[in-house]
Amino acid sequence: MAKFEMVNNVDHSKIKINTKRSAELGDNLWFCLTFPEEFRAVQAHYPIFFQKEEETGQFAPVALFGFQHQENLFLSEQGWDAGYMPIAVARQPFTIGSQIQTVDGQEQSQRVLTLDMENPRVNTEIGQSLFLEFGGNSDYLDQMADMMEALHAGIESNKKFAACLAELDLLEPFTLDVQLNDGSKHQMVGFYTINEQKLAELDDEKTLGLAKSGYLQAIHFTMASQGNVSHLLKRKNSQMGL
């Protein structure tokens, strides 16, 4: 069971975060959430697809790391083998909580950095300290706080981005069929990608709107990222010795 605590320099003065990347520490993910602001970095390494969130049916972009549950082809003995790690992974084990604070007599909900104390990364011996000797934030903690802000904003912009894509019918279901060197076939369903024909048919006004909002760039990054499926496949073949 997760146990969330608001990060503070009294309770957590001795806490360290193990930043090693391994399956035991929960990095055996086959995809993670991403968002347009990091598409430029993500598309250089991972395929970006869309999935529907189970509880809401809303589309959300994900970066793909493998072809099946618990398969992360970027994970090796040496850690995470790629030049960029998506923020939704890098921020572990931090989350954002909210706290009601009274400011000038007004109750306000404020975002606060929280930590899952049951997460295997949380310890007092190995890894990055959260606080300096006299209670100041470590650079690591500041970096995590920035990431959480970016992720929070990213989730908000995903909603607008996904609504825009749905509105313009720019997403289509997509079945990923992969064949390994030994001839074995794998099929993945439940993914959505950009409908390139619909994109090409958009009228000038709508295309301009997409360009000005920055979504056109995000769409192109998504399309370009699909070449990474073959890189994933190469990793899979080599891990299986094929």
């Binding site: 809401t56 809303q58 589309f59």
Partner: protein
């Protein structure tokens, strides 16, 4: 001289009028083309809509999708919910009996007739639960899909329960704003005819003569064209289906998050039956009965007793009940000259199995796909339409009658009367005879595009404990293993569905918040 059919005038704007307008407009109106077909709908503002039809068939999904309607918007705007079939309570015996007629076909229906194999296990499991998971979904008030399921797609086949008034309004806006239907609110004072009897125009008070090449009579019980102009005789079917009266009432939910039922629940009463339909914000309940056997006061008393447990006896006493008269039957023909009737102007029968809106959809689809290019073709299309829809009326009447004839109820003359086979058509009698030694199946479908698949006959016949003594021939023996596997697969699917699906209420609330994706 042959005249092209370009201007279509629809008279009447209830559910029938707007569905017909939407179906035709989506197929025929070309924006910004001066040669395009035009559709004008004239409705009088002072004629109230008769909101009886609150259940649809699965065909409504296609009808709405073809009109370009967003399913999420439709559900929210029309207070609509999912209908997965009908549940018949106490039709066989006076108490503790019920069965489902679900919209899903039995598993692998066209591959193998499971009914032949179910008869051997009929003492262990009822027919519908053996062949489909849908009845169990209904028992648990579950939705037929998930929030991640695209618009109009499903995990279990479904139609809708809807607020007919809101639905008409919703369609009107869509037809006028998106599909280019011209809308005139005015009263029709006269009809002008050509020498050959064709309607030339309808005369309105404010807009003068509205001319047209084809007139569609959706004026309901007013029968403005087919009845008043052409005097097409009415064929009463009261001898077969005697229910001629209905009392309708709206029942609010006690709590905002009360369950919404997945099926129309039809509970047999001493002299008729009561429908119970769950919408998002309220239930629609009504008592259909035959005035030969009970008075309006008795019927009202029965209805108030039915709603009392859910709304309290005080509120039930004070609930506002509306009386509707049903003249069961249809016109002798539906398309005469350049005029075709759709909806109640064509005919009406008790709302068991919700055939009213389904017939409107079928009529509109026929007119739209077969729209005559010119007036020379009109008589040929008219004849085909008349043949087809007379046959459909007979199918509906036979199928509804099937719900009654197998009853074992003895508590009233009403039910005794329904057992009398003298009033049953030869077609249905033949079926009942055949089904004693063979199960209903595709050979029972004698026409193309049948309204009711033979699966529907299976659900009702075996729901009413109809018996079939099958001789197990070589083919059936060879199928046995496969049939067992399908029964087992259905049991597995049932468990999976029960754990994966939200309730109707949960899903409808999500749809209100997030909508449904097109893909």
């Amino acid at each position: 001289m042959s005249k092209s059919v370009r201007n279509i005038v629809i008279v009447g704007g209830g559910t029938a009028g707007w569905i017909t307008a939407g179906v035709l407009a989506a197929d025929h109106i070309v924006p910004n083309d001066e040669n395009s077909v035009t559709i004008t709908l004239i409705e009088s503002s002072d004629i109230p809509i008769i909101g009886v039809g609150e259940g649809t068939w699965p065909s409504m999904r296609d009808t709405l999708r073809n009109m370009g309607i967003d399913e999420g918007e439709f559900l929210t705007e029309c207070d609509a919910s999912f209908k997965q079939g009908s549940k018949f309570v106490n039709w066989l015996r006076e108490q503790q009996h019920s069965y489902y007629h679900p919209f899903s076909l039995p598993e692998k229906f066209f591959q193998l007739n499971l009914a032949n194999h179910w008869v051997n296990i009929s003492d262990k499991i009822n027919f519908s639960n053996a062949v489909t998971y849908q009845g169990m979904l209904c028992d648990h008030d579950l939705a037929p899909k998930q929030i991640t399921t695209p618009q109009y797609a499903f995990a279990a086949n479904y139609g809708y329960h809807l607020d007919a008034g809101k639905f008409s309004h919703f369609l009107k806006q869509h037809c006028v704003d998106k599909l280019g239907v011209k809308h005139i609110v005015d009263t029709i004072s006269d009809v002008k005819q050509h020498a050959n009897g064709d309607i030339a125009s309808v005369v309105t008070n404010g807009y003068g003569d509205v001319t047209g090449d084809l007139f569609i009579d959706c004026s309901g019980l007013h029968g403005l064209l087919l009845d008043k102009v052409y005097k097409v005789p009415f064929v009463s079917r009261r001898d077969v289906l005697g229910n001629d009266s209905a009392l309708a009432v709206q029942v609010p939910y006690a709590n905002q998050d009360d369950i919404i039922q997945s099926a129309t629940v039809a509970t047999a009463q001493k002299n008729g039956w009561i429908w119970d339909i769950g919408l998002q914000s309220r239930r629609g309940v009504g008592h259909v009965y035959c005035s030969d056997f009970c008075t309006d006061t008795q019927a009202e008393d029965t209805l108030r007793k039915y709603i009392a447990p859910s709304m309290g006896s005080k509120a039930a006493e004070n609930a506002n009940i509306r009386k509707l008269s049903i003249n069961p039957g249809h016109r002798e023909c539906f398309w005469q000259n350049n005029c075709v009737a759709v909806g109640m102007a064509a005919g009406f029968i008790e709302p068991l199995e919700a055939s009213a809106i389904a017939l409107v959809e079928q009529s509109a689809k026929f007119i739209s796909t077969q729209l005559p290019e010119n007036s020379d073709l009109m008589p040929i299309i008219a004849k085909r339409f008349n043949d087809k829809f007379l046959d459909r009326w007979q199918q509906i009447i036979d199928f509804l009658k099937l719900h009654y004839v197998l009853t074992q109820r003895t508590d009233s003359d009403y039910w005794q009367d329904h057992k009398n086979l003298d009033n049953v058509s030869d077609g249905l009698k033949e079926k009942l005879t055949l089904w004693q030694t063979r199960t209903p199946y595709t050979f029972d479908s004698t026409a193309t595009e049948e309204l009711f698949p033979s699966a529907s006959y299976q659900y009702v016949y075996y729901g009413m404990e109809g018996q079939t003594r099958i001789k197990f021939n070589r083919k059936l023996h060879s199928e046995m293993q496969q049939a067992q596997a399908i029964f087992k697969e259905n049991a597995g699917k049932t468990q999976k569905m029960l754990s994966a699906l939200n309730t109707n209420r949960e899903l409808l609330n999500k749809i209100k918040q997030y909508g449904l994706a097109k893909v």
